[in-house]
């Protein structure tokens, strides 16, 4: 994970608390429905990784890195950070579908929607993520990384950030 951390400067980030996730995959269905009008997990921009034996589930979703590897590798500048939300967004008109961003994303959070022939990734739903609103167990939260956020959560976020940095 890059310096600056998730959603640096823009404020709003999706926090994942995997220990609360029950593996219900409502986020996947919500995401695909909101973006495509269909309930199809293969067209979702968030994907729940499950470890059935231990009952551990982790919703993998774009961390809106800064700098973002997907943006760095895109040969045509089709990926850019939204000024309004801080989300890395794909311009489907410009994208030439070389899929370099998919190979480059350290979290595997850039997806390919075969039906629309489009590269898809979390766009934070324009600033009000639907998956967060529909997560019954509150494993997903969306908050401003401002001083108003509790210290505890910030400590947790920092820890996760550290862990992700290691992954990269």
């Amino acid at each position: 994970m890059p310096k600056g951390g998730p959603g640096k400067g823009m404020g709003n980030v999706i926090y994942v608390q995997p220990e609360k996730c029950t593996g219900c995959r409502t986020c996947e269905l919500t995401c695909s429905f909101m973006h495509t009008g269909e309930f199809d997990p293969t067209r979702s921009r968030i994907a729940v990784v499950g470890f059935e034996k231990t009952g551990f589930f982790f919703p993998a979703v774009c961390q809106q890195c800064d700098p973002a590897p997907c943006m760095e590798v895109c040969p045509v500048g089709a990926i850019s950070r939204s000024e309004a939300t801080g989300a890395m967004e794909v311009n489907h008109e410009v994208c030439i579908r070389c899929k370099m961003c998919m190979i480059a994303c350290p979290f595997g959070a850039t997806f390919y929607d075969a039906k629309d022939n489009q590269i898809i990734k979390c766009d934070l739903c324009g600033g009000d993520p639907e998956c967060v609103k529909n997560c019954g167990s509150k494993a997903l939260t969306f908050s401003k990384s401002s001083p108003a956020v509790s210290l505890k959560r910030r400590a947790a976020a920092a820890k996760i950030k550290e862990v992700l940095e290691e992954v990269r």
Binding site: P18, P75, V76, V94, K159
Partner: protein, 246 residues
């Protein structure tokens, strides 16, 4: 600035081509060699429109390359334009005889293709989108070679090129599926070059060429230590986080 398209006044910005303004305004103009990722090429002529100059003279121009100017008057559909597009559709379908894309287009323009001899297996319509894509990738190994009816897209000397990274961006952008990509026995073969695909260290799925990995390392300035496919990269993140949260 303001320009007139089919008697409608629209906003345009210096440096824009007519086609770009039309796309923004949802005015449909057919194109073959245009892609928003690249500059207009003016190669296929499908996007022809008529412009009217200050003396009232009409002129045919390729809208994907013709720059806007203040007060420009554009006509996007006329008898002349329709005729040109029909002729083009006929010629293209006559060349790209093995391309369903080209044949369908001929049908849409209600023309009977004139089938050229020796093009029975041809799919390429010479739109050069692959050439542009390869250039953007930084490889630039593709070009149109020869002239006239022998014109075709090739690598230098019709051999595997050193700069080719096997990314398939060319095949991906080709509207007619004319670029052959073979993937078998852990290898990808494209443009006379064979790549040994990298296997995911976790699940074994082949997911990239070594040259693609190098491309990413160069662009991001970071070394990729472990080769994992997209799915296993998610899993790896989950595993690390699992470790930390128990």
């Amino acid at each position: 600035m303001k320009i007139m398209i089919d008697e409608r006044e629209v906003m345009a910005y210096p440096g824009e081509a007519i086609l770009e303004v039309c796309r923004r305004e949802n005015i449909f103009i057919p194109t073959l060699c245009y892609h928003p990722a690249f500059k207009g090429q003016g190669a296929c002529r499908m996007c022809m429109v008529e412009i009217i100059d200050s003396r009232g003279q009409r002129k045919l121009v390729a809208s994907c390359t013709y720059p806007v100017s203040d007060g420009l008057k554009v006509i996007t559909s006329s008898e002349k334009i329709r005729k040109i597009r029909k002729t083009l559709a006929m010629l293209i379908a006559g060349r790209a005889q093995a391309s369903p894309f080209a044949q369908k287009m001929a049908g849409e323009y209600e023309v009977k293709p004139f089938f050229f001899k020796g093009f029975e297996n041809e799919k390429c319509i010479l739109c050069r989108l692959c050439v542009n894509a390869c250039e953007e990738m930084g490889s630039a190994v593709l070009a149109a070679v020869s002239r006239g009816v022998d014109k075709r897209i090739e690598t230098p000397y019709a051999e595997g090129a050193e700069e080719c990274i096997g990314c398939k961006a060319c095949a991906e952008i080709c509207p007619t599926g004319a670029i052959e990509v073979k993937e078998e026995n852990g290898q990808r073969i494209i443009w006379h070059k064979t790549f040994d695909l990298i296997k995911c260290e976790s699940c074994g799925r082949e997911f990239a060429t070594p040259e693609q990995i190098r491309f990413i390392e160069d662009k991001t300035g970071r070394k990729i230590e472990k080769f994992l496919c997209e799915g296993c990269r998610k899993r790896q993140t989950a595993e690390v986080i699992k470790e930390f949260s128990v």
